[in-house]
Amino acid sequence: MKIRRAFRVWQRNFTVYTKLYKSSIALNFVEPVLYLAALGLGLGAFVREINGVPYIKFIAPGIIASSSMFAAIYECTYGTYVRMTYQKTFDAILATPVNLDDLIAGELMWGATKSLMYGTIIIAVISFFGLVDSPMVILAIPVLFVTGLIFSQISVIFTAVIPGIDSFNYFYTLFMTPMFLFSGIFFPLDNLPRIISNIAFFTPLYHLVNICRSLSSGQFTVIIWDIFWILAVAAILSPYPFKLMRRRIVK
């Protein structure tokens, strides 16, 4: 794998993105703001506080995490699949000096980049509305890239093994949505049956939510373990997108 050639693939996706960004930014940006407004203000009127924090302020850092997760997952499931099959963009690229490993690395890097971009936008928005207590939240930005990479790796792995585009529904319904709901974004997991927080511990989103929330409130030391977790998982997953894509594409 050559970084320069992977960058060419990243660059292709970036070029296309800059042409379409107006519509896609708006959509990806409207949804998290809707969550914040509906739940933060609507539900917040009843819940008031969680652990002494106003409800909207409690969920705001979680929205950084979920928004960045959705960006990477949609990019590396639906987006990657369409480029691979319908548009045959992969075939076109593989006839150039770019090899399959470069191509997959470029797709993963792009997914991680989108995660970083969308999470950063939410950081800006919630900071603007005064929902963040500490400038330490800035430190979440590099973390978003690593967790974005993990979401991209998982998505590419799934994309490599599914028989058709409809199968993504399984991924969204059985993996993404439960993770979104039970990662501590909307309520602390402490009061739920133990099994739920045990399962949550094995999902990247749970750790990202912890990190975003801690940094937003100015605590750093408590997230060391979460940081270690995401770095380890990114490393453990790293060979599989390449292996499985190779198995799918090289015939």
Binding site: K2, R12, Q87, K88, D91, I93, T96, P97
Partner: protein, 245 residues
């Protein structure tokens, strides 16, 4: 000088022998055609040459390099016109060329003027800023041809370059390929059009069920076996090309 050398080359897909122990050499500057019906193994041979499909056994060397070991270096020197349309629908005609050039590490400063030149060469200059979906089938093929030339390839691989084209577009593509031959570009093409093979190819390999049953110039084949190229095919394989269309 040999540009492509294949020795005892085979490709199996599970139990199917798509390419079965073929040998051939393609020399610099010639136009070499693989001729045969659908499913004869032509595309698979091409894909092994441009490092897309790894051989099951045997070897292919391109520019003296093994396709298994130096795919990037080989691919940087060749151009590919695939059978299907894999143009980038998210980009305009012009951007398709410039973005493609980037994969070869050719920056916009060099690729932009050359892209305009190529669009002019294939006769779709006025379409530079439209999107792919607005192009006719013939224009798409010509754009794919232009794209395959963006890195100034020494070897051009064309998989059924004119299949599905109207006579006018077909003639345009032939003209362009002929002018490339004059510039000493080596061409490898697959076709199941006899006229295309006779007009363009210095030598043809007739393929049937994964094997090469004859390699020679079209005129020699016709001289030895009698009749036109289609008669030669019929004689060599015991069946007509036409029934496979």
């Amino acid at each position: 000088m040999e540009i492509v050398v294949a020795k005892r080359l085979s490709k199996y897909f599970n139990s199917l022998k798509a390419v079965d122990n073929v040998n051939f050499e393609i020399v610099k500057g010639e136009c070499f055609g693989f001729l045969g019906p659908n499913g004869a193994g032509k595309t698979t041979v091409m894909r092994m040459i441009y490092c897309f499909t790894p051989p099951s056994s045997g070897t292919v060397n391109v520019f003296g390099m093994d396709v298994r070991k130096e795919p990037s270096r080989i691919k940087s020197r060749l151009g590919v016109m695939p059978q299907e349309d894999n143009l980038d629908p998210d980009l305009s005609v012009f951007e398709n060329l410039v973005v493609y050039a980037r994969y070869f590490d050719i920056g916009k400063k060099n690729s932009a003027p050359f892209a305009r030149e190529l669009l002019d060469f294939v006769g779709i200059k006025e379409k530079a800023d439209v999107y792919i979906k607005e192009l006719s089938g013939g224009m798409k093929r010509r754009l794919i041809l232009a794209r395959s030339l963006i890195n100034n390839p020494e070897l051009l691989i064309l998989d059924e370059p004119t299949t599905g084209l109207d006579p006018h577009s077909r003639r345009t593509v032939w003209e362009k390929l002929n002018s490339l031959r004059k510039k000493n570009t080596t061409l490898i093409l697959t076709t199941h059009y006899m006229e295309e093979a006779e007009r363009l190819c210095d030598r043809v390999a007739i393929m049937d069920s994964g094997q090469i049953v004859a390699i020679d110039s079209p005129s020699r084949l016709m001289e030895i076996h009698g009749g036109n190229l289609e008669d030669v095919y019929l004689k060599l394989t015991g069946r007509s090309l036409k029934v496979n269309f």
